[in-house]
């Protein structure tokens, strides 16, 4: 540390001012390499000819100054300081042949390379950003007659679809109104039950239609079903020999009467 203070006194006034400016500005730096790059400018030489030793001194002075001013430096600034202190000792001391690893010169050369590369990237970035740019200097078509994606939606169906749909409707008809359908269908069995009960009371010829159950007269669908069922039941009863049936003419009313016992 005393070494550092000692080094500090070696700095020119200009350098010290620069270092203080850096410290005030420490938040504006993009890391230790950025600080080194800035410091290197004070040497006013080509980066390839930079004195890394001198640069290390400047950086260490910068860190010391920050400490004096009680400015908290981020860890990586301190890591760099430690590394530079090590580098400096390597550069100052005669090489120890027993020591492993890269020489001070190699380390210094790499640091110089890093600085030069960073500077090169900065210059490149500036040139890049300085180029003519789309939307600022040159322009794309403002009115994109963009490709119209003509989406033609065609609907299709196959004959099978059609047939299945129709079949579905017809099948559905059987299920949908199942109970209701029962309502409008008077089965022969029902008619037979009814006729068996009623037939005993019939004396003379009676119109078949009068045997239709209550509520099956008005609705044509129901009437048709009940008529057919009653007619079929009558035929059944005739077959059983319990009923006589007659019709005077085509389309004339069908008449029924109980068959006289003994064929009287």
């Amino acid at each position: 540390m005393t070494d550092n203070l000692f080094q500090d006194t070696n700095l020119t006034v200009e350098e010290r001012l620069a270092a203080e400016a850096l410290i005030v500005d420490v938040d504006g730096f993009e890391g230790p390499l950025d600080v080194l790059l800035t410091l290197s400018r004070t040497q006013k030489v080509d980066l390839r000819k930079i004195s890394v030793l001198e640069l290390a001194r400047q950086y260490l002075a910068f860190v010391e100054k920050a400490k004096e001013l009680r400015i908290e430096l981020a860890a990586d600034y301190l890591v760099m300081a430690a590394w530079l202190a090590f580098l400096k000792s390597r550069l100052l001391l005669p090489p120890d042949p027993s020591e492993e690893g890269p020489s001070g010169e190699e380390l210094a050369a790499h640091l110089a390379f890093q600085l030069e590369r960073l500077q090169a990237m900065r210059d490149a970035a500036a040139r890049l950003m300085g180029r003519d740019r789309l939307g600022r200097d040159f322009f794309a078509r403002g009115q994109g007659e963009d490709i119209t994606r003509i989406k033609t939606v065609t609907y299709t169906a196959t004959l099978l679809d059609l047939m299945q749909a129709y079949a579905r409707i017809r099948t559905k008809d059987e299920f949908r109104p199942f109970v209701m359908d029962r309502d409008s269908v008077f089965t022969m069995e029902q008619a037979l039950d009814r006729m068996r009960g009623l037939i005993g009371f019939s004396g003379g010829w009676t119109d078949l239609l009068s045997y239709l159950p209550e509520g099956w007269h008005s609705d044509p669908v129901k009437r048709r079903s009940a008529t057919a069922a009653t007619f079929a039941a009558s035929l059944e009863l005739v077959k059983e020999g319990r009923l006589e049936i007659q019709q005077s003419d085509t389309f004339a009313p069908i008449q029924l009467r109980k068959r006289k016992e003994d064929g009287a």
Partner: protein
């Protein structure tokens, strides 16, 4: 106004016409909307003869892939109409007809001419306007004769396009209910209470004209 611009020419160094043409070209190209002459004049250096530059530019693009066109009182660059096909990425999406549409279509095919009320009766649900419209639009159905019943409702019949699409010579070629049943498409049980359209009558040939009776009782 041109005259006014003309008198200014001597006072202001207007760019050469070729340059003015370039400017008009760039502005028309980059502008999101057609650009009026006034707007062009405002943007370009004083002393420019925008109208003349436009005429030059228009001539230059004659017969090319794009043209300088006038849109109202503004100007724009547009692709040549004969190359419109290049601007279209045709994607034909084939979708299945909805179930409602297929069913409605089937009923029309089997029962035509048929009124909407009849279709609804057969399907047991109401038929949306959209479904009918879609089928009309596809040209698979068209309006038939009006039914001679109260209200004179319109009827629907299938079209030659329909027959064409389904590979039928006539609607009579549609498999009857019997065949549907044989093919296992219909449960082997006669639908009670409903007249099964086309199987029992061999005079199915009259289907097209005679169906009306089927629906007399409404």
């Amino acid at each position: 106004m041109n005259d006014a611009a003309g008198t200014h020419d001597s006072l202001f160094e207007a760019p050469p016409m070729a340059e003015q043409e370039r400017m008009v070209e760039a502005v028309l190209f980059a502008s999101p909307e057609p650009v009026t002459v006034r707007e062009l004049e405002n943007r370009m250096p004083i002393g420019c003869d925008v109208k003349q530059a436009l005429e030059h530019l228009k001539g230059r693009y004659e017969g090319r892939g794009v043209r300088i066109v006038r849109v109202g009182d503004a100007w724009a660059i547009r692709t040549a109409p004969d190359l419109g096909f290049l601007m279209q990425r045709e994607t034909v999406e084939t979708r299945k007809l909805s179930r409602a549409a297929v069913e409605t279509l089937a009923i029309i095919a089997y029962h035509q001419p048929v009124t909407r009320a009849e279709i609804e009766e057969i399907r047991g649900v109401s038929v949306s306007r959209g479904t009918i419209d879609q089928l009309l639009e596809m040209e698979w159905i068209r309006l038939g004769r009006r039914r001679m019943t109260p209200g004179r409702p319109v009827t629907f019949v299938v079209t030659p396009e329909f027959l064409d699409h389904f590979g039928l010579e006539s609607a009579r070629d549609l498999p009857g209910v019997k065949e549907l049943r044989a093919a296992g498409l219909l449960e082997n049980r006669p639908p009670p209470g409903i007249l099964s359209g086309s199987d029992e009558d061999d005079d199915d040939e009259d289907v097209i004209d005679d169906q009306p009776e089927l629906f007399e009782e409404e």
